[in-house]
Amino acid sequence: MEWIYNPWPWYIGGPMIALVLFLLLFFGKSFGMSSNLRTLCTICGAGKTTAFFNFDWKKQQWNLLVSLGAIIGGALATQYMTSDDAVAIHPDTVTKLKELQIESAGTAYLPTELFSLEALMDPKVILVLAVGGFLVGFGARYAGGCTSGHAISGLSNLQLVSLYAVIGFFIGGLFMNHLLLPYIL
């Protein structure tokens, strides 16, 4: 039973994502997590501000359930299925992150320099999380989907436009990772 407590390899995680895609298609739905962000806008009353949010959000309840499932999955995984949540990243990556003052590299699941309650005392950290979140939400809707909607669902259905989007994800991600992050962290 030891394998449950250890990190799961990619050849378990990847096929499980494909299974989620299959189950959603089989029940006549689609796999796209960022649509929930739009639904949350509508629930908060954004339909009054622009027609983009004027839709019957109750028809999207199933997708909110998928995100609720993700929340429950995250809780079960940390509470009952993990003995040590340190992520064993490549030693070169650890060295590089330590140079950027991310000392928790190699010993934690998320960098405590960004994702601990103490870190939130630093306004810069709040700004990083806020800007990151804003770009994710804005970009996902502009591109009509995120990693699940384009890189998994769209590419699986051989949609050329999803390839444009995924290439865009990597242009943006590489630019942030190599050119901007060293100055931000």
């Binding site: 006549g28 699941y109 979140g133 970009g139 995924v166 943006g172």
Partner: protein, 121 residues
């Protein structure tokens, strides 16, 4: 998501550093199975649980919205280290600062909706 470490900021950072196969393995194997699955569904006209044909709508044809939107999303992905799915997983795992990311992701979606007709699509 959590157990395969796809929700870890470190894994996303490492993916963009090309230092590990892990994330490419996850996305690649999900994608390979996904392509196979959808081809089988189309070829054998597999019906959904409710007996209806499974229809997967094509995405709208365009270039600019996917390129610009994709790059903006990528910048956020590289910074916050989480895309919309793992944001929910991390809330459940008790990393509460991710709620800031979620709040601003919803805000970003709303701002997109407000200015969508002024953007090139």
């Amino acid at each position: 998501m959590y157990k395969s470490e796809a929700a870890s900021w470190f894994r996303i950072y490492e993916m963009f550093q090309f230092k590990s196969f892990h994330m490419y393995g996850i996305i690649g194997s999900a994608l390979a199975l996904g392509i196979l699955m959808i081809q089988l569904i189309k070829r054998y006209k597999i019906k959904s649980a409710f007996g209806e044909p499974i229809e997967i709508p094509d995405k709208a044809k365009s270039f600019y919205r996917y390129a610009y939107g994709g790059i903006i999303f990528g910048l956020g992905w590289g910074l916050a280290g989480a895309c919309p799915g793992p944001i929910f997983t991390l809330i459940g795992a008790g990393f509460y600062p991710i709620l800031i990311v979620l709040f601003f992701a919803v805000l970003g979606t709303w701002v997109y909706g407000l200015i969508a007709d002024k953007l090139p699509h």
